[in-house]
């Protein structure tokens, strides 16, 4: 199904998006600054919670520091809240020109998003993590293999998030205006992925429901748990396997919804 030509086109799309973000230097600096300010705040709050017992839900103080700062770095790589261009193109009808191209709409979406994520990894990820290393007692992984697993888990998180946001964008084919769906996504993804607090703080049954029933922990909690070596390498591998499963499920859902959406599309003449 995927020819080498298609792969070349997708790689070119990713490269173009990477270069596009290189030109947004001001926005990159501004974003990294904000992630860092929030990092200080979240880090101090969690450390204050850990003050009495020296740990929170099994995370030692150093692990909490790593959790917060690497989380602030990954936030822009995984990109929960980025501006969506596709819905506006659906509303205005420009999506037709996207559909005329010999590249699948979803594949193009994922490819461009990967280019953006690669840029964020080299820029916006580095600043908060450096601040955390500089100002706090940071937990560094004991095993070299953890780093490899972290890279794999992060790549999966980026792809899962892309498919989720693509699904949100597809609602534009029905709703035209996606602000409501976007808001639903913002609320659920933030809480469900461990952005505000590590998920194990919650009651066990709720944590299980989140891991098994939603893709959200795969966005942030999974790569962070892998990095702080919670439960060892075996547990880390299980988390990555879960991410692969959720990527497959979300991709499948997107295929079905995309087929329906394109069948609904009415191009305004003119």
């Amino acid at each position: 199904m995927v020819s080498t030509g298609a792969v070349r086109v997708l790689a070119a799309l990713a490269g173009a998006e990477f270069r596009r973000y290189l030109t947004y230097r001001q926005a990159t600096i501004a974003g990294a600054f904000t992630n860092t300010v929030f990092g200080f705040m979240r880090c101090y709050i969690l450390l204050s919670v850990a003050d009495a017992t020296g740990q929170v839900a099994g995370y030692a103080a150093g692990q909490l520091v790593t959790f917060v700062w690497v989380g602030q770095g990954l936030l822009s790589v995984v990109n929960y809240w980025g501006h969506q261009e596709l819905p506006e193109r659906v509303r205005s009808g420009q999506v037709v020109s996207d559909l005329l191209r010999p590249v699948d709409l979803q594949a193009a979406f994922l490819a461009t998003d990967s280019g953006r994520a690669a840029h964020a990894m080299l820029t916006r990820f580095v600043v908060p993590v450096a601040a955390g290393l500089l100002f706090f007692d940071f937990y560094l992984p004991r095993h070299p293999r953890t780093y490899v697993l972290f890279v794999v888990s992060t790549a999966l998180a980026v792809l899962i998030c892309s498919t989720c946001r693509y699904l949100v964008a597809l609602t534009a084919f029905w709703l035209l205006d996606i602000r409501g769906a976007q808001m639903l996504w913002t609320v659920t993804s933030g809480v469900g992925s461990g952005l505000y607090f590590p998920l194990p703080v919650l009651p066990d049954w709720l944590v299980t429901v989140l891991w098994v029933g939603t893709p959200f922990p795969g966005l942030l909690q999974a790569p962070l748990d892998v990095l702080v070596e919670r439960g060892g390498t075996g547990h880390g591998l299980a988390l990555v396997a879960g991410q692969v499963a959720w990527l497959a499920i979300m991709t499948g859902v997107c295929r079905v919804v995309q087929r329906r959406a394109l069948r609904r599309l009415v191009v305004q003449g003119g």
């Binding site: 947004y24 501004a30 974003g31 705040m41 709050i45 919670v49 205006d177 409501g180 505000y196 607090f197």
Partner: protein
């Protein structure tokens, strides 16, 4: 005289009404948006509750005390966000040169920007924030007296003015640095979060520069201490706890001055 002043505000009201009408056109989307942005406020509260499940005090303060701080911030911030939060779109106007059109009209530029992007979905949050504040006042061990009652009313108003000033100041940066939007977020949304927690939680330079230096401690922490009749464990003078209305006006004046400087600096986009 009354007639003249009502004529003066009529264009703004028209702009507001047009915004409300246009944003409620897609009904399902608007309903979802209103609903979930209201839920978003409860999320801060839920986060706090989760943290208190782990540890029954935060920075030396009990649940009721912290709830009071969260309540003041929750009542103040959404009002500022509703009134001037849409100034965030400033960078779009500067980038596209649309700000020219704003300056050409015989109305205040700040007033127009505020009215042009009014977001009615934020009403839900303001109502909910006020409800949280009232609830907090009944739960927290407030030492009621006449000055305290006055502060209870003034503190959220002062907080709203303070955050409004931060919104305007943050947007003004766009006159020099167009893509600065996210920097403003650190002080608006970040400031909202920082203001809702006891200052004792934070440490080092962050506490000195961000929380005390920029004045976020004045929004909720210091007034809450006054309401609870407690001194600041960090040793700031006692009278400072009553100063939030003054600091809010001060910050608003500085932000206004900054805005005027920014507008004068504006040079359109060229062709």
């Amino acid at each position: 005289m009354a007639e003249r002043s009502s004529a003066r505000y009529r264009p703004y009201l028209r702009l507001l009404a047009a915004q409300v009408r246009s944003q409620t056109q897609y009904r399902l989307s608007f309903a979802l948006d209103l609903g979930f942005s209201t839920v978003l406020t409860s999320l801060d509260l839920a986060t706090l509750w989760v943290l208190f499940m782990v540890n029954d005090s935060l920075g030396g303060f009990g649940g009721g005390d912290v709830l009071l701080m969260v309540g003041i911030a929750a009542a103040a911030f959404p009002v500022a966000d509703l009134a001037v939060g849409n100034i965030e779109k400033m960078q779009v106007y500067v980038r596209s040169g649309l700000f020219d059109a704003v300056l050409l009209r015989p109305l205040s530029s700040l007033g127009q920007l505020v009215a042009m992007d009014f977001a009615p979905r934020r009403v839900g949050r303001a109502v909910q924030g006020t409800a949280i504040y009232i609830l907090a006042l009944t739960i927290a061990p407030v030492r009621w007296s006449v000055p305290v009652a006055l502060l209870v009313v003034l503190a959220p108003v002062a907080g709203a003015v303070f955050f409004g000033a931060i919104f305007v100041a943050g947007a003004t940066v766009a006159f020099w640095w167009i893509d600065s939007g996210e920097v403003a977020n650190a002080f608006t949304y970040g400031g909202k979060d920082a203001a809702a927690y006891p200052v004792t939680v934070f440490g080092g330079l962050f506490r000195r520069i961000f929380v005390y230096g920029l004045g976020f401690a004045f929004v909720a922490y210091l007034p809450a201490l006054a309401m609870l009749g407690r001194p600041d464990p960090l040793g700031t003078p006692g009278w400072l706890r009553w100063c939030s209305p003054v600091t809010a006006l001060l910050v608003a004046a500085v932000a206004g001055l900054f805005w005027r400087t920014g507008v004068r600096h504006y040079r359109s986009t060229g062709s």
